[in-house]
């Protein structure tokens, strides 16, 4: 993997360096689009750590994202605490919620884990609608503070955040823990017989995934200035995260971010086609999943694997 790791590293560095120069010459509209895409990229990368490595399909990424986003937003709304503290508390709330969900859910096998996570999203959504006074309900929650209103600064923040998250998640995936996670995902019985506590490792992956999802969700609502079910909780948002990760390439981490950027940018470019946009993007995603299950980066990496 040596050569490829370094090649991937240089390509990533070049792409990020280029991306960092964008605010100097592109419009605020494009910057805004990419800002959202980068936060989305972190959602997708966090999801890939669970699916690609731990082998668990989390159908409810928005449970973690939404918990982080709404917790941060509500605290800011109620107490007017500094956004940075709110964002940190939001991320921690996602971790706690993720832990509480995963602890029992990881005991059930196969599709049941996925179903549990899906039900969690529906419960969160319901909670938000029912406790409208606290959460803003279906109208959405207004968040008084922002980190900055400068489009360039917001863009750089998102880019920097995605870069750091990507580096941490990728590094983790390549570390001994990542190897054990892969082994547990592929053959839990054998990984157990090799002396690894599967539940502990998967729980850890879930908690890390929850941390980055929650953090990213919280940052996103402070960028939007509002939190709503439609943007951070709805099952459809979760499906987009999953599609982005699969599109980019399972078990690659970085690919998930590429998939997210592609998905959001493509959706925007196709906006003139109206309702068709979603259809076209979904069709492309379906074709990739059916015919190139490795995704964009997965195809490239498996070519490497064969050499």
């Amino acid at each position: 993997m040596g050569l490829f790791t370094s090649r991937l590293f240089w390509i990533a560095l070049l792409v990020i360096a280029f991306a960092a120069t964008l605010p100097l010459y592109v419009s605020g509209y494009i910057l805004g689009l990419l800002t959202v895409a980068f936060y989305f990229g972190v959602f997708a990368m966090s999801w890939d750590l669970l699916f690609g490595f731990a082998g668990e399909v989390n159908f409810g990424p928005t449970f973690l994202i939404g918990t982080g986003a709404y917790t941060a937003g509500i605290i800011n709304n109620l107490y007017g605490v500094s956004p940075y503290i709110c964002i940190f508390i939001g991320a921690m709330a996602a971790v706690v919620a993720g832990f509480i969900l995963a602890l029992p859910a990881l005991r059930v096998r196969g599709p049941y884990f996925g179903l549990t996570t899906l039900v969690a999203v529906l419960m969160l959504q319901n909670f938000i609608v029912v406790f409208a006074e606290l959460t803003g309900g279906e109208i959405g929650l207004t968040i008084p503070d922002v980190i900055t209103i400068n489009a360039g600064a917001n863009y750089w923040l998102a880019l920097g955040f995605m870069t750091v998250s990507g580096a941490v998640l990728y590094g983790l995936s390549q570390s001994p823990i990542g190897l054990v996670l892969q082994a547990s995902g592929q053959d839990p019985v054998q990984a157990g017989a090799l002396g690894f506590n599967i539940v502990k490792h998967k729980l850890f992956a879930f908690v890390v995934s929850a941390f980055f999802s929650g953090l990213s969700g919280a940052l996103l609502v402070f960028y939007f200035g509002t939190a709503s079910v439609g943007t951070v909780v709805d099952v459809a948002v979760g499906v987009n995260v999953i599609v982005a990760a699969v599109l980019g390439g399972r078990r690659t981490v970085i690919g998930a971010a590429l998939g997210a950027v592609f998905l959001i940018v493509a959706g925007e470019f196709l906006r003139p086609t109206g309702e068709l946009a979603t259809f076209i993007v979904s069709a492309v995603a379906l074709i990739v999943v059916l015919f190139f299950p490795g995704g964009f980066l997965g195809a490239a990496m498996s070519r490497e694997a064969r050499t």
Binding site: P176, Q186, G195
Partner: protein
């Protein structure tokens, strides 16, 4: 070996180990000792509970009762990862390596600590992994990735992972499954090497014969219980063991091949080869079956019986030719082959569990006219009277033996010309075997259906057979009269 290790306390003591699944007792009160520097074989036919016993020792299954004492400490009931860390390694039959990592990295996984703080790779582990790779003969390929390796090297990788953390006890599940004869020799040496390093080795296999040269002592199991323990040669002489594996004096009722008058056999399999990825499952296999003949294909687990039947049923790609009545079957869909009368009754039975016995049978005879179907069912109930009683019961509530009869019954409802039975005795108790055996005999005498039976239970396969083939490591190694089987080929089935 006893001279070397006999004086020391055993490394592993199993006492009264019992494992129940619901109402089924898979392992009953099993006790044995395993010493350092000893290879101990746990032997028994399919469904005898040997694999469950091994899994219960390793903690993959939680024993219902009993003790597993490792170096004086009871580890029974601990989860697998804790037992592994105490000094156990297990070699799995099926390997699923990490395909994006090299062989070396795969071995390194086994060396990693069970810690969430292990964020950086340790150089010392790499050297240790290299040494292990050399030890099992993977030295030349350790920088390669598993998908580029031959099957035997993937098995070596499993050995490497199992001994990586220098375990005191090594458990090996069917060490030779899927290997060629030459590879069997190499792997025997490797496993013997574990013994010489002072490890206690527990082998699980179906037959005494296949591991006789390797083991120091053998425990033969049947239906969850110990039959006898001792040196391999003694166990092979044991009366009960012989009866379990070979039956007592088998009465055969073979009709000579010359009594079948069809010029060309009804079913011909000629030089068929089948590969699963890198493993060759069938190698130049040729068999033929005459009209109304009863042919048994005897072979151990993994010998290739199911593969052969699946090739005949059109479920697998193969090279060579399979002909029915002289016409090649290649290019005919599996569904068409079945409709035209080659009906397979698979090992896994594949019943519709939530439908009644009657509904299962009606489905089998779905294509028949109503009156023909009724007649067929009537005939079937004569053959298997128990199915008449159970008509309105859900299939999943039947006992194993009744389910097997239903599976055969459903296949018969399709009015087969050639009926293929794949291991019908799998996991059945002896008394059920007898009923099944009688039904097959009646079937043979009262119908003209051509039968092809795949079995590893020789007792069951021989009495009805007109002719027997022995399939071993993907090849046909013997063909002949069932009466000559025990003398000429029986040794391998003890």
């Amino acid at each position: 070996m006893d001279a070397v290790s006999g004086n020391f306390a055993p490394t592993l003591e199993v006492r009264g180990l019992t494992k129940r699944f619901g109402g089924l007792t898979a392992v009953k009160n099993l006790s044995f000792d395993l010493r350092a520097g000893e290879i101990f074989g746990l032997i028994g036919p399919n469904g005898s509970g040997k694999s469950t016993a091994m899994k219960s020792i390793m903690g993959i299954e939680r024993p219902t009762s009993g003790e597993v004492i490792f170096q004086g400490q009871n580890v029974a009931g601990l989860p697998a990862h804790k037992i592994a860390r105490q000094g156990f390694g297990m070699v799995f039959q099926h390997s699923r390596p990490l395909n994006r990592q090299t062989v070396l990295e795969n071995i390194m996984v086994a060396l990693l600590p069970d810690s969430l703080l292990a964020l950086f790779h340790d150089r010392a582990l790499i050297e240790r992994a290299e040494a292990i790779a050399e030890r099992v003969g993977l030295g030349a390929v350790m920088r390669r990735k598993p998908p580029t390796l031959p099957f035997a090297d993937l098995r070596r990788l499993e050995l490497a992972k199992a001994i990586a953390r220098d375990p005191k006890v090594v458990l090996v599940d069917e060490p030779f499954a899927g290997l060629t004869l030459a590879e069997v020799g190499t792997f025997s040496e490797l496993i013997a090497g574990f013994r010489d390093e002072g490890r206690a080795v527990l082998l699980v296999d179906h037959n005494v014969k296949s591991v006789a040269a390797l083991v120091d002592r053998v425990l033969a199991m049947y239906l969850g219980e110990e039959i006898c323990t001792g040196a391999a040669s003694d166990v092979m002489k044991n009366e009960t063991v012989r009866r379990v594996y070979l039956g007592g004096a088998i009465e055969t009722s073979a009709r000579p091949e010359t009594s079948f008058h069809d010029k060309e056999p009804l079913l011909q399999v000629e030089n068929v080869n089948v590969f699963y990825g890198k493993a060759q499952a069938l190698e130049n296999v040729s068999i033929h079956v005459h009209k109304s003949e009863f042919v048994s294909v005897v072979g151990l687990n993994g010998a290739g019986k199911t593969t052969l039947f699946n090739a005949i049923s059109g479920l697998l790609p193969y090279t060579g030719a399979i002909k029915r009545g002289g016409e090649p079957l290649r290019g005919t869909s599996a569904a068409k082959i079945a409709r035209d009368g080659i009906v397979q009754c698979p090992e896994s039975r594949e019943l519709f569990g939530e439908m009644t016995v009657r509904e299962n049978l009606d489905l089998g005879g779905y294509h028949l006219a109503d009156d023909v179907r009724d007649k067929q069912i009537e005939w079937l109930f004569e053959l298997f009277p128990i199915l008449r009683e159970r008509q309105s019961q859900l299939a999943q509530t039947l006992s194993g033996g009744e389910q097997q009869m239903l599976a055969i019954g459903r296949a018969l409802m399709m009015q087969p010309k050639i009926l293929i039975l794949d291991e019908p005795t799998l996991g059945l108790a002896p008394v059920i075997l007898e009923q099944l055996s009688k039904a097959l005999e009646r079937l043979r005498q009262t119908s003209s259906i051509t039968m092809l039976l795949g079995e590893q239970n020789v007792t069951f396969a021989l009495p009805h057979a007109d002719r027997v083939y022995v399939l071993e490591h993907a090849r046909i190694v013997w063909e002949g009269d069932p009466a000559r089987f025990a003398a000429e080929a029986g040794e391998g089935y003890l």
